[in-house]
Amino acid sequence: MTGTPLLQAQGLVKRYGGVVATDQVTLRIDPGEVLGVIGPNGAGKSTLIGLLGGELAPSEGRIVYCGEDITRVGASERARRGIGRTYQIPRPFLDMTVRENLLAARHSVQAFEPARQAAQACDAILERCGLIDAAARPARELPLLRRKRLEVARALALGPKLLLLDEVGAGLVDAEVTELIGLIQSLRHEVQGLVIIEHVLRVVRECCERLMVINFGKTFAEGPTAQVMGSDEVAAIYLGTAHGKKATPAAAPAAPAAPAKVARPVDVRAEPLLALQGVHAGYGLARVLDGVDLQVRAGEVVAVLGTNGAGKTTLARVISGSLVPTAGTLRVDGHDRTGQPPHVLSRLGLAQCMEGRRIFGTLTVEENLLLAARGVRDTLRAERLQRVYALFPDLAQRRRNAGTSMSGGQQQMLAIGRALMAQPRLIVFDEISLGLAPIMMDRLYEALAALRAQGLTMLVVEQDVDRALDLADRVYVMEHGRIALSGTAQAVRNDPQLRHLYIGTAD
């Protein structure tokens, strides 16, 4: 025993009605320590952060911080004593500027600090987190990944002693993960203790000394990082095929986990189902897409790869109709549909499955699904519902639960199921594996492979190069708002430029 631990939690239990989200979790963080927490989606990791951060009151157990019992101390008081946290799904103050988001933390902790000094301190943090260019913009304008950065920056503005990071690495490409690891390492000199919940295994491997695996709310395994990661039990419940696989993308043409791809007949002479030509688009004065050409033929699976900020999500928004291109054309079946609103495009058979999920929380799983097939005959609707349930048995089990009560992976299944209910001709999947446990990603991609076998046309926007290449017939790689590389999955996989684009540009 070396001195007082920074934080000690004993026998934490959190019950929601009859559901036990956290069950007898005990943990200890000593000064200078970084603890990693991993586990499948829905294992109760975010609940644990909520309990430590003070947002949730435990049903049982006690929490001692710096030698003081803080079990009954509220969230704001804990924050003032130096416990900072981030939210897995970012919750910035949307109608305030990015700088004001940080100033809020700063002013609440040091109420009488001179304004200039506070602003300087906040700008230094923004600089460090790569958000300084957006300091004066409303947080609402930030895309999801930058909101995650804002979560970290805002927690840092507190000047915390203990920092709880909830999946801040999700959706980052390799070079950005390296940056994140650099940031976390540099924090070790300022922050006394860190708890990191993460599915990006590189972050866990390189930052955490100790690892805790949570499954069904219980501590499943605990110990030094290498030992826990090497355990077969942990591989079985969490790591899936990522176990033992090389972490660098596109390092080698990995053997596809899914059943071997069968080439399907694609009529190359027919009008493409979707064709973009010379599309330019952006937000206000910020130009994001700079002349994109892309085609999807009926029956094809097309993947769009690229680093964050390359314009992938903007491209998906153009295809959904929620963003009007400033130049160029969008054709569906050869007809010009540029500038048509989303509901028109969706009536033409284009469906979206977006990052961030957007499930209606007040509706049940089944209602969420049925809603997507409004105006369809009952028998047909029931039939489609059965097909979705066959694809995702998890959803069938939880048909009466509220949509947002499920884990991240299950919500993503629901989002896919909802897109399928409309029986679209083309589904655009926008980073559906974001923030999912490796084993859950395996299951989602198995489902996509099954859909592929049924002949569904798909456009997959993805961060994970290997998985995308395994699934797709053709691939586009984006860089700086343009298509930098395209071709068949096989050709792109072997192209040295792919590796260069992914690893060489962002650092």
Binding site: G54, A79, R91, A175, L323
Partner: protein, 329 residues
């Protein structure tokens, strides 16, 4: 994490600061001064309308502080107006205070009422808070109607003569000056940052160390002080007050429509809204039924087509002219 070179959202070259907030800041004191100078030469009709307008602006500002900046949509305006009026009358009649001293007492009574009920109403959030304040207002009105020591349904008479129209105009102007000072401090200081965090996300605010209850309480008390002050001024003008009028839903609804029409969370909103509402009421004074119907239609139109009110609509147009329109829907 250094900014990646491929960052999708580069800050647009927005070097020129918008000029309208600065203009607005100099406009407020100038307008208040002008009103003070004009008072001696204004007609009785103008003074009468002016009194109503200034009081309505003050009330709307107070309500806007809660709803627009703090996310606390209250339907309890009438309670605080009523308490202010009754306390003024009581203090003048029973304690023999000069009305000028009784006016701030009305405000303090409003703030005190806010403090007393805060524990109860802050247990409720969002819409439930709104309904809670409505229940408070109705309960208080029924109490006042039935409680004989406060005059019951007949109400109270002010024992002294109210000041003349000039004096009343001055009172309303002073109320507005106090309101403006409070609003300037509350919406331009670091307090406003804390307040807006509570509006945007109360839980996330707590996680960064903000104490939501305290912030909401301060806001509620400030707004209620201003409402009580305005109520006291109204009581002074009427000379005879009764619960149906002073605690009536009319106050609540008028103030709400002023802010919704003018623009929530915007400093200029209440002024523009109040001018609009008072002008409309005067134009249609002879056709009360038509007036109600038209107000309803306007409210629906504003909520549907200009959720940020007339001021928000104007600002959006200005911004579009200055920076060009984005492609985003």
């Amino acid at each position: 994490m250094a900014p990646p070179s491929t960052s999708a959202l580069r800050a647009p070259a927005m070097t020129a600061r918008p000029w309208w907030p600065e203009l607005w800041r100099t406009l407020i004191p100038a307008a208040l001064l002008l009103l003070a100078l004009m008072a001696p030469v204004m007609s009785d009709y103008a003074l009468e309308i002016g009194f109503r307008l200034l009081l309505l602006v003050a009330l709307a500002e107070a309500w806007n502080l809660m709803a627009g900046y703090g996310g606390l949509v209250s339907l309890g305006t009438a309670s605080f107006v009523g308490v202010g009026a009754y306390v003024l009358t009581g203090a003048v009649n029973k304690a023999g205070l000069h009305w000028a001293l009784a006016l701030p007492l009305g405000g303090l009574a409003g703030a005190l009422l806010a403090l007393v009920v805060s524990r109860a109403v802050f247990r409720l959030r969002g819409l439930y808070f709104t309904v809670g304040t409505l229940a408070l207002a109705e309960a208080l009105r029924l109490f006042m109607v039935n409680f004989a020591p406060f005059g019951g349904a007949t109400g109270l008479f002010l024992a002294v003569d109210p000041p003349g129209l000039q004096g009343l105009f001055g009172v309303a102007l002073s109320v507005l000056v106090v309101t403006t000072v409070v609003m300037e401090v509350a919406t331009r200081s670091r307090f406003s940052i804390l307040l807006r965090t509570v509006r945007d996300d109360e839980d996330a605010a707590a996680q960064v160390g903000v104490r939501p209850f305290r912030i909401k309480l301060i806001t509620f008390m400030l707004a209620s002080f201003l409402m009580g002050l305005a109520g006291a001024a109204q009581g002074l003008k009427l000379g005879a007050i009764e619960p149906y009028g002073m605690f009536g839903m009319n106050w609540t609804v008028t103030v709400l429509s002023v802010v919704v029409i003018g623009g929530q969370g915007l400093r200029a909103g209440p002024v523009v809204g109040a001018v609009f509402v008072v002008a409309l009421a005067e134009l249609l004074a002879d056709w009360p039924a038509v007036h109600l119907a038209i107000t309803g239609v306007i409210l629906i139109a504003v909520i549907r087509f200009a959720p940020q009110g007339l001021v928000g609509l104007g600002l959006a147009l200005l911004r579009r002219r200055d920076f060009g329109s984005g492609g985003a829907r």
